[in-house]
């Protein structure tokens, strides 16, 4: 089943991001929420773009903007809470890393 990984922590402080990336499979998606948005600039996430090119990466734009976090990566998709809800029902299951 395809899994939605909800990342709510900074990968610079905790290993939530690293663990998420270790557990993700090709059809999965990663959703950066809350402090997870600090990972937009994290080397591990940027490396995942080349290592796991099939994975989709989303971030809640409200949360990123509040933190003055931006990304030059066109492969990261900025979304709203309505979109988060759609993702929850699009994917088979979800895990929250925080």
């Amino acid at each position: 089943m395809a899994m939605l990984h909800i990342v709510r922590d900074s990968g610079f402080t905790s290993n939530a991001l690293a663990q998420c990336l270790n557990m993700s499979l090709p059809r999965d998606a990663i959703l950066l929420m809350d402090d997870g948005c600090y990972n937009l600039q994290h080397p591990l996430l940027l490396a995942a773009l080349t290592k796991q090119p099939d994975i989709s990466i989303y971030f809640v734009s409200l949360h990123a903007n509040a933190r003055a976090q931006y990304s030059e990566q066109t492969l990261f998709t900025a979304i709203t809470f309505d979109d988060v809800l759609k993702l929850i029902f699009t994917f088979d299951n979800s895990i929250t890393w925080s």
Partner: protein
């Protein structure tokens, strides 16, 4: 996408924290046992510092922690037999495969992840 019926719903409880400094491990086990008592299909996963919950020769009472680790033996009573531990997490911590309960399946990361993906609902502690 939802072809899930209630009868086949499987639940995974993922443990990522060490046992003594936070209530997470005990509260995860409490939840697992309740799911078991309601005869729900439940699996336990240990990854990262969560593997410290399963290693042998710990002595909780010496630091005045109630030894909830002993309660893991109740899993058998509820027929909870799917207990998975991430091999890479063990190796990274230089831990031997010496556990305080039987029936633990040590899986390489990819297989561990595959098993996790097969569950309908996942709670992480």
């Amino acid at each position: 996408m939802s072809d899930v019926t209630q009868a086949t719903k499987t639940v995974a409880i993922v443990n990522t924290q060490a046992p003594f400094s936070s209530a997470a491990g005990k509260e995860a086990l409490d939840a697992a046992l309740i799911f078991g008592s309601f005869e729900q299909a439940i699996s336990l996963f240990f990854i990262g510092d969560g593997v410290f919950q399963m290693i042998g020769d710990q002595n909780a009472s010496s630091i005045a922690v109630k030894d909830y680790l002993k309660t893991f033996s109740a899993l058998e009573f509820y027929d909870i037999e799917n207990i998975y531990l991430c091999k890479e997490s063990l190796n990274e911590r230089n831990l031997p495969a010496n556990f305080h309960i039987d029936n633990i399946q040590v899986l390489a990361q990819n297989e561990f992840s595959q098993r996790l993906h097969s569950h309908h609902v996942i709670y992480r502690f």
